[in-house]
Structure formats: structure tokens, C-alpha cells
């Protein structure tokens, strides 16, 4: 039997979950329990994962797997441990490393649901419970160093009292592969550590410095590239240098997942169609080779999804090469894989605002064409059984009421296309990170109109998606029922509130 681990990586249940094998269900963890009992909400959003006798989860968040891999390659006894099994390693643990997408629910859409409902979202509640758990408290009492990182590391700057209360030693923000081994070594040697670290873009790791994961990631997520060339001002990822992972590296990670019993793949990128691209113009060859390789590895029955794609790239790829329909028909769709899920960004349908905030979002097309690009891309996706979850951002700096009004009007054009559209309140990030937050008090009638329209659109299509495509496996029946219950509640609530909201809009 192996000794315990000196370096333990862990996080709370909303992150240490495979969400029933359905990545999008994880988004329910960004909201508070609404319309259904909290236990049911937790069950739908973040069920427990299988673990071994040491408490190592079968699948874990991808970013944490990268850090784990780096430490293992450096020879440390490190492992990701499920939050319910931390106590098993108290005798040997010297460092506890924690990561999260949204520690305190300040990210979108958590901050929006919190603002609207006045209730703390599940992810925040769950993380606080984790940090207050007996195992974590005991670890701290014994002198274990706590290092917090991940894409939401910045949120600790807004929770200083909790940072102090929980005794977090160092918060590190940014890509850590070049630096984490040295930080850990100094922590183990009891050397003084910085309170806070920001890893600037010039210290981002090269492809060679990024390790291959050693154990499976949640739902088979593997990255195919890092960074994005579009330079949208609200985005933090675009600040990173652009790097494409070689096919061999991607294949290795898919095989790690398959060997660990994870049968599907989520190709992770800020824009999958920009893999191997010529600037912002997709190229068929790298994408066809990538998908050919992936499908060969996962076989006919493996699930496949894209994390994100841009609407401009979808349009360009299809208009110039019929590439989207080729990928779907020649590689992706089959008797088992009936659709492809992906997140896309609309953000705004105002050309004026798009030119200020995201001038290259439409590229290689001019920004003036942005609303048409959005509609064309939605049509392409609908025709090819790609089901997008699309984001809008409300409360962007420089936004005027007429921008939101235009967006509300244009939303009608998207009604015929199967999709979810979710408006998010602006959260200062990326180049805009010193701007002010957008909160409920600042909502205008135009914002409410957008929120009503997107809600109606999404509820309509959500029912269609659940009936025809999603959660069809028999073992997921309780989850389907739970979701349907939630949708029924939302529809009732909207019907009840509609007269008041319409009166507000008429004013």
C-alpha cells in the first residue's frame, strides 16, 4: 500500500464532479437552488465521482490534472484527492493546493444569478463548506501550507477576510507550469512565500513545458490550444500567447482518459475552429486531421463536444470550405452522436458597441456585419445539429440603452435556431478588469427586455433539446425529471411576472 501524499490537490464538490457525464449540467452549480429542493439541485449539478481507496477521483478538473502532472514529473508525491477523502492524508500532507473556476461566485454567470435572486450560488456555498471542513481546518492546524490557484484566483482579492480566516498562504494567478515546481519546493522547505503571484504572459509555458495529464480529466476534456488572437477587451484568455498543441500530445491525453474509463472527449479551446488557423481564418487541413484522429481514438460510441467556437469562424469555415458540415457528417455525427454541443459568444448585437469592445470578434469579416454573421452562424449550426449555448454580456463599459435595444430587437432573428442564449452581467476581466461591476440595481427596461427574450428563447429550445437530444440514457431519468421540474417552475414564474415586466417596459 502506497504512503500518503505530501502534496494534495483538491477542491469542492461543484468542481470535483463529472455532472453525470454532461458538462453543461455543471452550469447549474453557478446558481442557487431555485424551484426545486436544494438536495435535488446539488444532485443534478454536482454528483460525487468514483474514487479509489486513497480517495483519488476517477476524473478531476483538467487544470488541476496539469499541475498534478507537473509535480509528478518533478518527482513529488502528489495527487488530486476527492474532498470527502482528504482526512486520509492528514498525516503526510504538507501542502494543500486548491483550484477553482469560480471560488466565490464572482464570475459570470454566478454573479448574475446571485444579483437577481439575492441567494448565494451553489458553487460559493460549496467552496466555503470545503474550506471550513474538518479535514481542511485540521490540515491548517498542523501547519499545512495552502496554495490557491486556477482561473478564478483573482477572486481572492475580493475576499481578504476569508483569505485570512482560512490561512491561505499564497494565491497564484496565471499559467503556472513554468513556476509551480519551484514554488512547491520553497513551500516544502519552509521558505518565505509571496502572498500573491501574477504570472505575466511572458512567463507562460511553452508547448514543451506543458505536461501531458497522468490521470483522466472531467468528461474527457483535453486542450487543443491556448490563447486567442481576437483581443476582445472583456476577455482574460486573449491576453495569453497563442499556442497549438501537437496532435501527438492531444492523442496521448485522449488515451489517458480512455484508459481511465472516460469514453468521450471535449476538445477545449477558446475557438476550436481556430486550431491550426491562419490568423483568424480556419484551415481545413489541421481541423480534419484533428477530428479524424479523435474519432479514431474514441470510436463510434465515444461522446464528442467542443468547448467553444466563434461565430465568425463557423461562418467562414462553412462558406469557404463547407468545413462545418464536413466535420459533422464525415466525422462527428453517427447513430450514437446525434448532436454536438458548444459554447459561443454573441456578447452584443450592436455594431457600435462591438466595434469598441470586440472589434475583431467578427474577423475576418468587418465588424459592421456582426449581426448577420451571428444569424448566419446560428443557421449553419442548426442545419448541422450543433447546439450552441450562447452568451450575451449586459452592462459592458461604453454600453448605451440603444445598444441593448438593438440587441433585443435582433434576438427575434435567432428564434428559429435551436440554441440556448444566456445573458451575463459584465464582470471586470481581461483588459477591462479595472472597470466597475454590473449589478441588478443598474438594470434598465432594455436589459429586462433582453433577459425576457433570452429566457423565452432558451426555455422553448431547452424543452426541445431535452426531448430530442439530451439526457436520453435511461440512468439519467432522475436528472431529466429534475430538469423538467425546474423548467416548469421557470415557465410558471415567467407567466406570473410577465404582466409586471411588460408594464415596466411600456413605461
Amino acid at each position: 500500500m502506497m504512503d500518503g501524499f505530501e502534496i494534495v490537490l483538491s477542491t469542492d464538490r461543484t468542481m470535483m464532479s463529472n455532472h453525470h457525464g454532461k458538462e453543461f449540467l455543471g452550469f447549474m452549480a453557478t446558481g442557487p437552488a431555485i424551484g426545486v429542493p436544494e438536495k435535488l439541485w446539488e444532485y443534478i449539478a454536482a454528483p460525487k465521482v468514483k474514487v479509489d481507496s486513497l480517495g483519488r477521483p476517477r476524473e478531476a478538473p483538467y487544470g488541476m490534472r496539469k499541475v498534478e502532472a507537473k509535480l509528478l514529473e518533478a518527482g513529488y508525491k502528489a495527487a488530486i484527492i476527492d474532498p470527502d477523502h482528504l482526512h486520509k492524508h492528514l498525516k503526510t500532507m504538507k501542502i494543500l493546493m486548491i483550484g477553482h473556476h469560480d471560488y466565490f461566485a464572482y464570475g459570470p454567470p454566478s454573479s448574475e444569478w446571485w444579483s437577481i435572486t439575492g441567494k448565494e450560488p451553489l458553487n460559493r456555498v460549496s467552496f466555503k463548506k470545503f474550506m471550513n471542513s474538518p479535514a481542511v481546518r485540521k490540515a491548517k492546524e498542523k501547519g499545512v501550507k495552502i496554495i490557491a490557484g486556477g482561473p478564478a484566483a483573482w477572486q481572492w482579492l475580493w475576499e481578504l477576510e476569508l483569505w485570512q480566516k482560512w490561512g491561505v498562504d499564497t494565491v497564484i494567478d496565471g499559467e503556472v507550469e513554468r513556476v509551480i515546481v519551484d514554488l512547491v519546493e520553497k513551500a516544502l522547505n519552509d521558505e518565505p512565500l509571496p502572498d500573491y503571484i501574477y504570472v505575466g504572459p511572458q512567463d507562460s509555458p511553452s508547448i514543451e513545458e506543458i505536461p501531458v495529464i497522468k490521470a483522466p480529466s472531467v468528461n474527457g476534456l483535453v486542450e487543443i490550444m491556448r490563447g486567442c488572437p481576437r483581443g476582445c477587451k472583456f476577455c482574460s484568455v486573449t491576453l495569453r500567447p497563442l499556442r497549438f498543441m501537437p496532435l501527438e500530445k492531444i492523442r496521448e491525453e485522449i488515451r489517458v482518459n480512455l484508459r481511465g474509463g472516460i469514453k468521450g472527449v471535449i476538445l477545449h479551446s477558446e475557438d476550436v475552429l481556430l486550431y491550426g488557423a491562419d490568423g483568424v481564418k480556419p484551415r481545413p487541413d489541421p481541423l480534419l486531421k484533428l477530428h479524424e484522429m479523435v474519432v479514431k481514438e474514441i470510436g463510434e460510441k465515444g461522446d464528442l463536444a467542443w468547448s467553444h467556437a466563434s461565430l465568425a469562424a463557423i461562418k467562414y469555415a462553412e462558406d469557404n470550405y463547407k468545413l462545418v458540415s464536413r466535420l459533422m457528417n464525415e466525422y462527428i455525427l453517427n447513430d450514437h452522436r446525434k448532436f454536438l454541443g458548444v459554447e459561443v459568444g454573441i456578447e452584443t448585437l450592436s455594431v457600435r458597441l462591438a466595434k469598441i469592445i470586440m472589434p475583431a470578434k467578427a474577423a475576418p469579416y468587418p465588424a459592421e456585419q456582426w449581426p448577420d454573421i451571428v444569424e448566419d452562424a446560428f443557421k449553419i449550426m442548426h442545419e448541422n445539429r450543433i447546439i450552441p449555448a450562447a452568451t450575451l454580456i449586459l452592462g459592458l463599459p461604453e454600453e448605451k440603452p440603444e445598444d441593448v435595444g438593438v440587441t433585443a430587437e435582433m434576438l427575434d432573428r435567432l428564434r428559429p435556431y435551436r440554441s440556448l442564449i444566456v445573458p451575463m452581467f459584465f464582470v471586470p476581466m481581461g483588459a477591462l478588469k479595472k472597470n466597475k461591476w454590473f449589478i441588478r440595481d443598474k438594470l434598465t427596461p432594455e436589459h429586462i427586455e433582453v433577459m425576457m427574450k433570452t429566457l423565452e428563447h432558451s426555455v422553448y429550445w431547452a424543452e426541445d433539446i431535452i426531448n430530442k437530444f439530451y439526457l436520453k440514457e435511461p440512468y439519467l431519468l432522475p436528472v431529466r425529471l429534475g430538469l423538467k421540474l425546474f423548467l416548469a417552475y421557470v415557465k410558471r414564474k415567467v407567466k406570473k411576472l410577465r404582466p409586471q415586466l411588460e408594464a415596466l417596459l411600456r413605461k
Partner: protein
């Protein structure tokens, strides 16, 4: 002191004295960082925060600086008002021939004086 590899190599050390004008000092520090970065062609900073506030509560004053930053690698190290320790730190930095600069709240005259005595350029806010 064993500095962090990569993050604290070939960098500039900024001694920031956060007094009553903590937030203003933090904002001024970022402007100083931009200037020094351009002058010295460096993009890494270690900010040594000298403050009466406990760690990490002092970060409230530093938040604006950190939120403004997208370009530089930054490490933030906390120091309380133990002038003997600060003096030793400064001696060590000088011995290692590090680039050192100070940005100090005007109410922290003693700290500013200490830095000046050590030959470190100081900006008072």
C-alpha cells in the same frame, strides 16, 4: 533569500510603503512600474509591501494596482514595520545588485528616510 525561479529572476524590486494614503500609493506604484519597465526593459516585479495592516488585509490597498496589471509578472511579499528586518532585506537586495525603487506614503517618513539612506530612489505620495 531564495527568490522564486523565473518569477523573481531579472526583475525589479519595488518597496511600497502603504500608509494612510494606501490606495493612492498603490496607484502611483503602478505608474512607476510602467515607467521603470520601459526604462529598464524588465517585465517582472517583486513588490515588497511595508504596512501596519496584517496580511492579507493590506491587499485591499493594493487591489487596484493588481487589477490594473495584465502585462507584468508580479510577486507580492509582505513585511510588517520591523525596520531591522527591512534594513536586512535592503542590504541583501543591494548585495545581489538588484534594481530597487521605493514608493512610499508621505506619512511614512521614517521608511522613506531608511530607503534614502540606503541610496534607493524614493517617490513620496
Amino acid at each position: 533569500m531564495n527568490w522564486l525561479k523565473v518569477l523573481e529572476e531579472d526583475n525589479i524590486h519595488l518597496i511600497v510603503g502603504l500608509g494612510e494614503k494606501g490606495r493612492d500609493t498603490s496607484i502611483a506604484s503602478y505608474a512607476t512600474m510602467s515607467r521603470l519597465s520601459a526604462e529598464k526593459h524588465k517585465r517582472r516585479f517583486t513588490i515588497h509591501v511595508v504596512t501596519m495592516k496584517p496580511s492579507p488585509l493590506y491587499m485591499e490597498d493594493l487591489r487596484e494596482l493588481l487589477q490594473s496589471n495584465i502585462a507584468y509578472t508580479i510577486t507580492v511579499r509582505y513585511h510588517d514595520f520591523d525596520f531591522q528586518k527591512i534594513s536586512r532585506l535592503l542590504e541583501e537586495l543591494k548585495k545581489e545588485e538588484k534594481i530597487i525603487y521605493g514608493v512610499v506614503s508621505s506619512d511614512l517618513a521614517e521608511l522613506a528616510k531608511l530607503l534614502e539612506e540606503k541610496g534607493i530612489p524614493v517617490e513620496k505620495v
